[in-house]
Amino acid sequence: MASVSLRSVSKAYAGTAAVSDVSLEVAEGEFVVLLGPSGCGKTTTLRMVAGFVQPSAGSILIGGDDVTAVPPRARNIGMVFQSYALFPNMSVAENIGFGLRERRVPADQAKRRVDELLELVQLSGRGGASVEELSGGQQQRVALARALAIRPRLLLMDEPLGALDLKLRESMQIELHRLQRDLKITTILVTHDQQEAMSLADRIVIMKDGRIQQVGSSQELYDRPANRFVAEFIGKNNLLRGRVVDTGAEGSAVRLAEGGVVRILGVVGRVGDFVDLSIRPESILLGTTPLGAANVLTGTVQDRRFLGNIVHYFVKTASGGTILVERPAVDPGAAPGEPVAISWEPDGAVVFPVGEASPGRGAPTA
């Protein structure tokens, strides 16, 4: 097990930056997920840690050793590939034992280790099978076992669950999480699936256009997104544009484009500045009569979607914008076409100044 440090790592292809100035510290035994849309540089970053891609600038350290110039095979890394990349000419056991044979581990010792891993991934007795006989989920386990067999310092996974169907993916997530916990192996996983990232990661690294947008736990990213991109990428969100009309010790007041003046916590910019309010659908109350919270808007229910435990309401405001409200199914709610009042508490909104990259501190940490 080892820690990983990326120090100002960049990669440019023919002048275009794929990864720009990425710095990241991964602690020993930590599970870090690189998350972002396609083309955000997460895979390139992972491949630089693996050694398949040479950084244009910066350095990579594994366990404190600078490995920037070390070839992949000498980095002592286990890796699970997107398509598993199992060797079709080898049996399950031969696949798992591949790295052991390359390391000239004595045959009896290697066999014991392979049996151990077959048991770990619940494929005992299937060692002699051809990998093509296995289901997608089983192939995934073999790929994981092959990566773990060499007792790597670091485990890398490139969209490991992407090829599985939803049910299987969820059960593999649980299993992967348990394995990582038990083995305490430092792990970096790449995915574009935010649900997967949130259920697996100790910390999530959100990337966009080759840059890190925010690093934090699932909850930190959800509750305190650093910028609009993160707010929109993680979970569902309502973004409301407004203008600061008052600042004070109690907080600020913002006149929304949707109509009405609402209160926010803290001070963001000065009077006259434009701001964006990011409000989670579940932080908004909805009723046919104004109730509860401080900030109130009125509108009409345009659409109502029953999703089992929760209901989504699409509320059209007076100015024509649509706000998504998520309420428990047990709430009385409202029917499509009904006029409603929606409201939220000042601490329910995260505020971003418009036209600036730096985050606003609309909702200070509790």
């Binding site: 693996a50 398949f52 890796m79 590939f81 990349a85 199992l86 000419n89 591949f98 390359e102 060499i150």
Partner: protein
């Protein structure tokens, strides 16, 4: 769903029968054919008919002719005899011809594999545009008639040709090397004749080996040599074998390269057959030679096929 669509769906079923379930269902129906099933087997008949008329009949004529003694002036005897075969299999001259043909062909395979495999690998791992340009060039050159290519080779390989001039100029050779009108010339000709095909065949084989397999091998500790021996070679084995067999067969039967670069002095079997039949009108012995070549090549292919099938089956188990 209207009936026409239903009918189309039903007719499409046998075509998708490659799935295990489809195969099982097909096996269950054996004996009582689905009247709507497309009988793909019928498509084989035109090929069988053409092959029979253009290939099997003339060969049978040849075999028949080979069983008669030559009387000179293009006449053959009436008596059926194995004399021609006895002569071929006992005369050192003919045995040597079989041997030369075989070892030149095997040498060609060795050279073609050694040169063609890395070439095909490099092309398959290149970005698509340069690879398709280079493959296009290989295809174009391989389509130029072999006579023109060989005449070109004759010129540059001759004792005062470019190759010898370069070797002498660089001090590598002290006297011009004999590169044409001998076995070396035939070998060069055979390599140039078969190499493009081998490269194109192996290109498409290696392209099917995902890059990620190499990366998986590399990150789990494999050296380049180990990646080649444990991943690429096993996965390309069937393709290499097929390419080698094609190269061998083309070389065994190659006449133009052997005659033009061997200068008529290298008596491979195709050269001998041409001399016997066209030049000296000894149809009996010529026909017997070609039958021997045919049977020999056929047995060779069977043997390699059987060996590959056995070792392939073992690997899968």
């Amino acid at each position: 769903m209207n009936s026409a669509v239903q009918h189309a769906a039903a007719a499409g079923l046998p075509a998708s029968g490659s799935s295990p379930a489809g195969r099982a269902a097909g096996a269950g129906r054996r004996g009582r054919r689905d009247p709507r099933a497309v009988r793909w087997g019928w498509f084989l008949w035109p090929t069988v008919a053409v092959s029979f008329v253009l290939l099997v009949l003339p060969q049978l004529g040849f075999v028949w002719m080979s069983l008669h003694a030559d009387l000179g002036l293009g006449q053959t005897g009436d008596v059926v005899t194995l004399a021609n075969y006895r002569e071929i299999l006992s005369d050192p001259f003919y045995l040597r011809s079989i041997w030369i043909t075989l070892y030149l062909s095997v040498a060609t395979v060795v050279v073609v594999v050694l040169v063609g495999l890395p070439t095909a690998y490099a092309l398959a791992r290149m970005s698509p545009l340069p690879a398709s340009i280079l493959l296009g060039l290989i295809l174009t050159t391989s389509l130029i008639t072999v006579v023109i290519k060989l005449l070109g080779l004759n010129i540059i390989l001759g004792s005062s040709g470019m190759v010898n001039a370069a070797l002498l100029g660089l001090g590598i050779a002290s006297a011009p090397l004999q590169l044409v009108n001998n076995e070396a010339g035939v070998l060069i000709g055979l390599v140039q004749y078969t190499l493009p095909l081998f490269v194109m065949l192996l290109f498409s084989v290696i392209q099917t080996i995902p890059r990620s397999l190499e990366e998986a091998a590399e990150i789990h500790g494999a050296t380049r040599l180990s990646i080649f021996l444990r991943v690429i070679l096993p996965l390309a084995k069937a393709g290499i074998l097929a390419g080698s067999l094609i190269t061998l067969n083309m070389s065994m039967g190659a006449f133009t390269s052997a005659i033009l670069l061997g200068g008529g002095r290298v008596h491979t079997m195709p050269v001998l057959i041409q001399q016997k039949i066209v030049q000296s009108s000894e149809y009996g012995i010529g026909a017997a030679l070609s039958t021997v070549l045919l049977v020999f090549v056929f047995l060779l292919n069977l043997a390699v096929g059987a060996w590959a099938g056995r070792s392939g089956g073992r690997a899968r188990r």
